[in-house]
Amino acid sequence: MDLVDLITEKRFIGQEFLTWLWWKSEERGGSVELEGQGDIVVVFEKHMLLEYGEADYNERLVCSGLQTELKEARTGLRTGKKLEQARLQIIKDEMEYNLTLGATSFEFRNVKLPKTEGADASADSADAEMEGAVLERIYLFEELVKIVNDLLLMFVEARTSETWSEELARIRTWVHKSADNV
């Protein structure tokens, strides 16, 4: 299948993943357990884009605000919308990342990497120092992608498992409760 067709046909997987992740993060107050790696922090914040329908029937809803409870977004979920883009804070092993994740093209936007002590100032030369800085940035980007991939794997394993209907029922309960509390 052509990639453009594949993106269109399978875009719901990314949108379901982000929506599932929002539920998963709120289920335990912002904590998500990665198999074999312990708890990480996943918080949905500030900015969210929800979508419903395809092509001419596509509806979009943008919600943003620093202290927002994302009320409109929660109501949007109840009208069948799913997340297309969300601003996330992810903390693993005291490393804090902030990013906006796009569901359709799997875009990592405006990624803020964890603060580190910087490149090794004791390096023998400016070249070695630069090489250290470049490799550190690559390591941090790769770690972020690894965390997001681990979360995606958790989702698709749940989504293709025999017990998906039970998990779906819990998500639906959350969608309704979440909108009722608005």
Partner: protein
């Protein structure tokens, strides 16, 4: 948007195709053949090529390598002379008026109008300063994957074409579905993922 500093935006590609023996030599040679060539001092309309990630002016890689450990780190630089449609329209009309007066005719034929427009476009393009765009990328040789630091779809297409011309390798954008298929080790799960249809979460 840059890889090296501040906040960054990126997408990921998987790389399809085989590198020849001595891949590092091959990559270095290909980069050298496809470096960016400056068009500031000539009248070329368009130039695309590799520069060092450390400086958009370093296409000889004098100040830094493209190889960092197991990664190829490069910037794709694209310079283009552009003329805005409103400027082209204005100068085309001006020239049409001048010719009408000179020839003392009330109207110009369609062919002449097209010729004028094309001539003016060439003249204005020559005068326009090349507008640069620089996109960073990190190519993981062990993973056969590539981080591209732009979310611009047009830039993705430029990269895909240029990468293929340069290295003979194909880039495939990694979307959640294709990433998930790679992550699932179980064939049954992969088959089930292929079959699933959108779920209603309400």
């Amino acid at each position: 948007m840059s890889f090296l500093a501040g906040s960054a935006s990126f997408v990921r590609f998987s790389i399809e195709g085989e590198l020849p023996e001595n891949p590092l030599d091959f990559i270095s040679d290909r980069i050298k053949s496809f470096v960016f060539e400056d068009i500031d001092d000539n009248f070329e309309e368009y130039s695309i090529g590799w520069v060092s990630v450390l400086s958009m002016f370093d296409s000889a890689f004098d100040y830094g390598t493209h190889l960092y450990g197991d990664y190829v780190v490069l910037s794709l630089r694209v310079d283009e002379r552009k003329v805005s449609p409103s400027i082209l329209k204005k100068f085309t009309q001006k020239e049409e008026e001048r010719i009408k007066k000179e020839k003392q005719v009330p109207k110009l034929s369609r062919t002449i109008k097209l010729e004028i427009k094309e001539r003016i476009r060439t003249e204005l393009t020559r005068k326009a300063m090349p507008v640069p765009a620089v996109y960073d990328l990190v190519w993981s040789l062990s993973e056969s994957s590539l981080y591209f630091f732009s979310t611009n779809k047009k830039a993705h297409m430029l990269l895909e074409d240029f990468f293929k011309d340069c290295f003979g390798l194909l880039l495939m954008l990694q979307i959640p579905y294709t990433t998930a298929v790679q992550l699932l080790s179980d064939d049954d799960r992969q088959a089930r993922l292929e079959q699933i249809t959108p779920e209603i979460f309400v």
